[in-house]
């Protein structure tokens, strides 16, 4: 089971869009059993596949809907309120992934309040526990048997949530807009990559697949910054040779009532679909080859 995470502590660089495209590529095109995990308290990734709800009692934000398998009359479900998010791992409860409209694609959605609570943990010994929870969950035999790939969308932070993703993942991709501030976000992520790489066993390295230029526009600014990264001997190796261009259609398919719902359902030769295929197949090749 390969665990792929999109990370960058700068917001708005396209982590969610990239996660979504990658997860759909793996499940729809590669026919891999794929689990999406939304580790961002904003729950945008979850919202792509589920009708997230607003709980009046939880003013912090979104909660997952009632699970389709939940049966209020089933004695087995007696102790369950019918909702399940990935944040349950911090509360010692089971995670029940939700099916999505894509056949081989499941999602463990976020839970705004619960994730925020985990993120705000500060006491060192608890932080340590938070850090290891996701890795423990993904190492469980149930999860390993059920899925071939896990795609994790992360919060724009360097806090405990992102660190726990870094600890659980075996591949990370850093999407970035080719502008000064998002590139600074790359630095933050490389620092986490470094800290984790130094403590990991050699046999299970954390692979940095690379920096993925996203929302790329053929402007001097984007071209120059991309070039300056590529031209650096150390950094250049980690700049992916593929990129996502700035295209409104990537945002359009995110709308709830869009048809088709996935870029991969567009007709052949669609420029956005071709680009998504190129980027995702390149990354998949690196990970699954």
């Amino acid at each position: 089971m390969e665990i792929i995470a999109f990370v960058n502590n700068k917001g708005g660089v396209g982590k969610t869009t990239c996660s979504k495209l990658m997860a759909e590529y793996l499940s729809k095109t590669k026919q891999l059993r794929t689990l999406c995990i939304d580790f961002d308290p904003q729950c945008n990734f979850s919202h792509q596949y589920l009708q997230m709800e607003i709980d009046p009692a939880a003013p912090e934000g979104l909660i997952p809907p009632i699970h389709p398998d939940y049966d209020i009359d089933d004695p087995d479900d007696e102790d369950w309120d019918g909702r399940s998010s990935i944040a349950e791992i911090f509360y010692g409860q089971g995670v029940v992934p939700y099916p999505t409209y894509v056949e081989k694609l499941d999602i463990a959605p976020g839970h705004a309040e619960k994730l925020l609570t985990a993120e705000s943990v500060r006491r060192s010994e608890v932080v340590d526990k938070v850090h290891k929870q996701l890795a423990n969950f993904l190492n469980s035999s149930d999860v390993r048997e059920a899925y071939d790939a896990v795609v994790i969308d992360t919060a724009p932070s360097k806090g405990p949530l992102t660190i726990s993703v870094i600890k659980a993942a075996n591949h990370i991709i850093i999407p970035s807009v080719m502008e000064e501030q998002p590139v600074q976000g790359i630095y933050g992520m490389l620092q986490l990559w470094m800290q984790e790489s130094l403590v990991r066993e050699k046999t299970r390295p954390l692979q940095l697949i690379g920096i993925l230029p996203n929302m790329f526009k053929q402007t001097r600014l984007h071209k120059d910054i991309l070039k300056s990264l590529q031209d650096n001997a150390a950094i250049g190796k980690y700049v992916l040779p593929v990129k996502f261009s700035q295209r409104i259609v990537f945002a359009e398919v995110d709308a709830a009532d869009s048809t088709p719902r996935s870029i991969f359902d567009f007709q052949e030769q669609h420029v956005a679909k071709n680009e998504a295929m190129e980027v995702c197949s390149y990354i998949a090749e690196r990970i699954f080859a």
Partner: protein, 337 residues
């Protein structure tokens, strides 16, 4: 016309990014330096040092009924010296550990840890290996750390070397152990490794001498081990205990060699033309001749020749030669008579 604006990432950021990448590329999964609570460190029972004192003794004091009380007490005194320098200067080199469950197992730096505990330190700087180093690497690290130390006995050092060779053979098969091989493994000089090899292959009595401390130096051990005669070895070891220098031991060996050589000569030499007369040989030391002459004329029956030799200047080689020839002539006459 204004120049077209060019964009790029700042120098500081570029540097930060590439430095971070280099750190990972060069060090991922090998080791890292951290400040480690001393309470998380356990000693390695297989460490070649075989220090008697342990964590409990330092934390709780040595129990008076401990069978090793005297030795531990002595070790404790030595640790106090180290503790004093740690107190003033800190631990200069980080200790080396590897993670073993919840604890960290000591690879090198036992004394630094114990001494730090003695002065009430809570943490120590440590180089942490993420995995247990392979047996061979482990021995080598402990070896390297230990060679710099002076308080290891020769027996401990040889044990250490034996362990390294054993681990090396475990990894590479039963290769022949040569001084060059040991040199490659340990990085010591060829002369040192030759000494080690000789000492390692020393005859039983020398091994015992090393174990009981009669022989404390590697070069002396190698020298004695190279001697074939067990009698001579015994003499040499006694000389060692008596504090003879390496030079003194060497001349003792030479002396023994000559005696042996002489004995061998007397019993052989039957080849070649038949010998009709005796060749008296040559010497550059006039004192040798004077000794012979003195010996002869000190005999009562020859004291009549005393006068002849009393005028010889024994510093003059020519006069001495004449004197010696004269002695032979006189004796030949005496023998005929």
């Amino acid at each position: 016309m204004s120049k077209k604006k060019r964009f790029g990432i700042s120098e500081a950021l570029t540097r930060g990014l590439s430095e971070t990448i280099h750190v990972v590329e060069n060090n991922a999964g090998i080791f890292r330096n951290i400040i480690l609570p001393l309470s998380r460190i356990e000693l390695d029972p297989d460490n070649p040092r075989k220090l008697a004192i342990d964590l409990t003794d330092v934390r709780q004091g040595i129990r008076p009924d401990d069978p090793l009380y005297a030795r531990k007490q002595e070790e404790l005194e030595k640790l106090k010296e180290l503790a004093h320098t740690i107190k003033t200067n800190g631990v200069i080199n980080p200790v080396v550990v590897y993670k073993r469950g919840e604890l960290y197992r000591m690879v090198a730096g036992e004394r630094r840890c114990l001494a730090s505990l003695l002065i009430g330190k809570q943490e120590i700087e440590a180089r942490v290996f993420n995995e247990k180093p392979k047996n061979f690497e482990l021995k080598l690290i402990q070896w390297v750390e230990n060679t710099a130390r002076e308080d290891l006995t020769l027996a401990e050092r040889l044990d250490n070397m034996r362990d390294i060779i054993r681990e090396y053979q475990g990894q590479h098969g039963q290769v022949e152990v040569t001084a060059t091989l040991i040199k490659t493994i340990t990085g010591l000089s060829l002369s040192q490794t030759t000494y080690y090899l000789t000492a390692l292959n020393a005859p039983e009595d020398v091994q015992v001498g090393i174990q009981n401390g009669s022989i404390r130096n590697l070069d002396k051990a190698a020298l004695i081990a190279g001697v074939l005669s067990s009698e001579v070895r015994q003499q040499l070891m006694q000389a060692c205990v008596a504090g003879s220098s390496l030079k003194a031991l060497k001349s003792l060996i030479n002396q023994q060699k000559m005696i042996k050589h002489h004995q061998a000569r007397l019993s052989t030499s039957k080849r070649g033309r038949q010998t009709a007369k005796i060749n008296m040989g040559t010497t550059m030391k006039a004192a040798v001749i004077k000794t012979i002459v003195d010996c002869v004329i000190s005999k009562k029956e020859y004291d009549k020749y005393l006068d002849i030799f009393s005028r010889v200047d024994w510093m003059d080689l020519r006069q001495t030669t004449h004197a010696f020839r004269k002695l032979i002539e006189l004796l030949e006459v005496e023998m005929v008579a």
